[in-house]
Amino acid sequence: MKKGWLYQAALLAALGLVFWVFASNTAQNLEVRRIASGFGFLSREAGFEIGETAFLAYSAADSYARALAVGLANTLWVAALGVVLATLLGLAVGLARLSPNWLLARLAAAYVETLRNVPLLVQLFFWYAIISEGLPPPAEALQPLPGVFLSNRGVFFPLPGDAPALTGFNFAGGAALSPEFAALLTGLATYTAAFIAEIVRAGIESVPRGQREAARSLGLRHADEVRCVVLPQALRLAVPPLTSQYLNLAKNSSLAVAIGYPDFVSIANTTMNQTGQAIEGVALIMAVFLTISLSISAFMNWYNRRVALRGLRR
């Protein structure tokens, strides 16, 4: 027992020493390079433009704090849409893998195996290349559905009473997804869906056969059997791993910086390059993602308690 405390004191001392050496070196280096420290830079003028803003208005004359807030809104927007799309697609692929139809099941298995084994960054570049090289210019845009246009300038949707129309070299009106946003969202959703599909499959396979047979002998219709018997039990197993997939999706949205979508990491990166305040920038990135991670965890834990067995609550 005594030896244990000795070890721990030594560990604390070593950690403290490393921290102190790093801190004093950093103070010295910052002084030599004439870099200010602290978060004072946040109120200064950012001076750079941001290509697209999800909810907040922004101009180059605004402060760094405003620019970072725009980046955060962009991150949350793409992550939220990504979670919804990935869940829907993952559910569909997971159910398809369990389909009695051999062709559909093999197709779903091939989807999962392919997308899980290629780095997300490669997939993002691939989707971006498809949009910017594979799609035609706005004048010859593809129209898969009436009013929806696919072109190398992005994807355009009609809104109620406001349809996109070709004016000059691009579309105006309606809702638009930039090529960067469309590539990032597609990449995040399709990649995460492959992992979610496996979770859905494992969850459903874990429900014992007898449960379904019992539901059928009670005379439940197929839809009710799935809704009232299979899904509640499958969810119990699926929620914890689903949580970590949502966390991964949120963290992976930071790859936006590589294809030029102005998410939080990308704006923080620009800020670091302009002000030289790397420590504050990295600290902000980490704080933001830790907060997002903790919020998703808290929400999913609450949800998990709701779907857990009553006897097992607490």
Binding site: N25, N29, N117, V122, I279
Partner: protein, 359 residues
């Protein structure tokens, strides 16, 4: 033939929904497969003297890959010395293949790795045996990706074992420190750890002391992967029954002998399939070093596209990159699946699982 028909009836046309699905999928294949095959194979340009042959073609321009393959594989390594990274990459792959066979799981394998990595270092850097010296700023391409992944695993695994043991320790300060580290790293994206290594680390060091970019990126990958591996190892540790701990205690083993001789050998064997899955993640994650400006495989592919003469072949380039990453990751994932099946079979048949065989 009747067996075939029965199979088709059962698995393709078992009901109206299944029949409809099959017909819809066949229609989609009939509609989309021929143009795709035509683009990728029939009308593709495989060899060309210059980009002009590709410009007029209807199909894919694989000649782009053929033209740039040296740069994509080896980066900016001196051209006439390319046999060295090629030999180093082959050696790495052979070492990995040997490590996957249970037959070689003994002390000799560790010795082979040490000798192999030393030889790879000698090949890559040179400066010995008449090989000209090549500084590591010039390493790149697929070789660099393989090196980052290999050294990442080699250093992250021991660190993760220490972290996992620390998280399960009875000493509160140690447990808190390890838990805090693991949860912190798992809560942030890899890119922030890479930024930390590339822009913050130089500030931490005393003036005059610098660590080069490659080493900093490697350090970030190791620190990041260790946190994830530690959770896998912890899972293995938790699966070891209490009796094993008590038996080791009864033999009078102290902590390190107990862990090293009794607990860890069993826990690590149990964790091999999930460890391989985490390695796949690390292998894919090495592609992120592109963002801090290292010339890994994905980065050399991307830079090849910036050649104005050959620009606009992004689809071909990234399909090729996907194929290469897929080959490595798929090999690893089918290996981990096979191990899982083997151990499941051993448990079901009641025989001692191969992982529990003494050693």
């Amino acid at each position: 033939m009747s067996g075939c028909l029965a199979w088709a009836r059962r698995s393709l046309f078992s009901g109206w929904l299944s029949t409809l699905t099959t017909l819809a999928l066949l229609w989609l294949a009939w509609r989309w497969l021929p143009p795709l095959v035509d683009w990728a194979i029939a009308s593709a340009v495989w060899r060309a003297e210059g980009p002009s042959a590709c410009r007029g073609a209807q199909g894919a321009c694989w000649a782009f890959i053929a033209e740039k393959h040296r740069f994509i594989l080896f980066g900016t390594y001196p051209f006439e010395q390319h046999w060295r990274p090629a030999a180093a990459s082959l050696l790495l792959i052979v070492l990995w293949l040997c490590s996957s066979l249970r037959r070689f799981w003994n002390g000799g394998l560790a010795a082979a790795w040490v000798a192999g990595l030393a030889l790879i270092g000698a090949l890559m850097w040179g400066g010995v045996a008449g090989l000209p010296y090549v500084e590591n700023e010039r390493w790149g391409g697929l070789t660099l990706t393989l090196l980052l992944a290999t050294f990442g695993i080699a250093f992250a695994l021991p660190l993760s074992i220490v972290l996992a043991l620390g998280r399960r320790s009875t000493l509160p300060v140690l447990r808190l420190a390890c838990t805090g580290y693991i949860e912190l790293v798992r809560g942030v994206p890899l890119i922030s750890v890479l930024f930390m290594a590339s822009v913050m680390l130089p500030l931490f060091l005393p003036a005059g002391l610098t660590i080069d970019k490659l080493l900093r990126a490697q350090l970030a990958l190791v620190l990041f992967a260790a946190a994830y591996l530690a959770e896998v190892v912890r899972g293995g540790l938790q699966a070891i029954p209490r009796g094993q701990h008590e038996a080791a205690d009864a033999l009078g083993f102290a902590y390190w002998r107990k862990m090293g001789l009794v607990i860890l050998p069993q826990a690590l064997r149990l964790s091999i399939p999930p460890l391989v899955n985490t390695f796949i993640g690390l292998f894919k994650d090495t592609s992120l070093v592109l963002i801090i400006g290292l010339f890994d495989f994905l980065s050399t592919v991307k830079v090849s596209l910036q050649d104005p003469a050959w620009s606009g072949f992004g689809l071909e380039a990234y399909l090729f990159a996907s194929l290469v990453y897929f080959a490595f990751c798929h090999a690893m994932s089918s290996y981990s699946r096979r191990l899982e099946h083997e151990s499941a079979r051993a448990v079901v048949s009641g025989a001692a699982a191969p992982y529990n065989r003494g050693s």
